[in-house]
Symmetry: C2
Subunit: 251 residues, 2 copies
DNA sequence: CGGGATATTGAGTTAGTTCAACACAGGTGG
DNA sequence: CCACCTGTGTTGAACTAACTCAATATCCCG
């Protein structure tokens, strides 16, 4: 069960935002940083399993992930779950309820998670006065659409082995851009159930397929740590092509 | 094989745009319409099977569908195809190549298709001077993300019968909002192969499942015409809930 | 020590696939 | 006007990737 949320110790100033030091993000000018600092209404810390946003509700907030992992998902009435994607630092959460009235998916924390909180009613100011930031928001949504395109291709047309190979490579490269990897290794706070639900597979089959990938010497997956042993092999299996997109927006 | 494109007879002025008469679109003010008229660089007419945008290329244009159907899709090297979604009047095509460098999916015309063409290099002006329109662009991308979420849930977690029920209802309601339906009937310019590729199913199984839905008296599907006979039944099957979103943006 | 997740493995089942044949319609060229 | 071809839809039969069920193993935590 989700644990309760904790109040943050002390919010980080946008001027000192850790994400800015990563080269995968675009540089913001002074004005933009100032605006974002004022726009940011606080921070929100959640523990694994905590519910961040709920399908069917309207959130007064818009979030950006400062650190940690989360995932978006949808449920069917009988409990079947589909994970739509995994969210990492820099990703936007809850824009849907800013743009439409209510959420059509839920979001849950996977790891210890720190979020920047923005009041959705002020999103309009951003569009009115900071067109570059508005464009960044569009950029982020478009990128997330791209990831969904990839997932849909996987779930619709790839075999179990191909899906797993593809997802693991994708996660690895996304994490790598955020400097969350150590060499070929990456800490993934997922259970196999999470993988299964993201891939549209059963838990048992996911487990067995992971095993054959291990036996073929492609990966090592143990205690939430993933090691990519044969990147070429995996990429060939999955027709994976890393998405070399230019510097991405912060917020 | 795709036929060649035809030059448009005479572009329609945005002031006289047919879409504006539909109540599902938000009303634009005079300034916005004037800007859009200037932004619009022409029209583009395509016939069924024509390729509109190609994965791996960069399109200098951004399109909006004025009339007709298209679909976005991705291919695997061995020819497996996943249709990502179907696009109808009012939908935006090719934003990805305006936001990133190149397309990661292709777009093909399903029916006779009329597109409004906008030069992507002027998209920035729109963001700089027409924040409401910029917000509309974001709205459109976010909505398309939502549709993808639904598809991913279907393909990942629903049975063949549920998937078909869900897709047909969705198409019907989307078309209905655009006043493209006649009572419970709708002309769909698809082959069963299109349905199969959108649902992640084989052609044969799609055919058989359509047949059982017909036999149960839920639908009639003949010569590209779909009739919804038992909307309640289909909705129950698919856990379908029509997405009652407020007026949507034009362009 | 006991209870609740998570992971692993085997065995039997099934939804959906592939292969193949055939029906039907429209379109073309002789 | 007919013969042919191609794209689409339909149906049966055999096959298989992935599923469900079930038992067991681990590990962590209170």
């Amino acid at each position: 069960m989700p644990r309760t949320h904790t109040a943050p110790p002390k919010p980080i100033k946008c001027t000192a935002c850790q994400l800015k030091t990563l080269k995968c993000f675009r540089r913001l000018d002074e004005d933009e940083v100032k605006f974002l600092s004022a726009f940011k209404s606080g921070e929100f810390v959640a523990e694994p399993g905590a519910s961040i946003l709920q399908e069917g509700t309207r959130s007064p907030h818009l979030y950006t992930i400062l650190s940690g992992w989360a995932f978006r998902y949808k449920l069917l009435p009988d409990g079947r779950r589909q994970i739509l994607n995994f969210a990492m630092p820099g990703d936007l959460l809850g824009l849907q309820s800013s743009v439409f009235s209510e959420m059509k998916h839920s979001v849950e924390a996977l790891s210890h998670l720190v979020l920047c909180v923005f009041p959705r009613e002020r999103l309009w100011e951003l569009y009115a006065h900071y067109p570059a930031l508005a464009f960044d928001v569009t950029w982020l949504v478009a990128r997330s659409e791209r990831l969904l395109d990839e997932s849909l291709l996987s779930v619709g047309r790839r075999s179990a082995r191909e899906r797993i190979a593809h997802l693991l490579l994708l996660l690895f490269h996304r994490a790598s851009a955020l400097e969350m990897t150590q060499g070929r290794r990456l800490t993934l706070p997922f259970t196999q159930q999470h993988l299964a639900d993201a891939l549209g597979l059963s838990l048992v089959h996911t487990n067995k397929t992971l095993k054959t990938l291990s036996e073929h010497g492609c990966i090592r997956w143990k205690d939430g740590r993933l090691e990519i042993l044969d990147e070429k092999g995996l990429a060939a299996l999955a027709d994976y092509e890393s998405d070399t997109v230019q510097p991405r927006p912060i917020l």
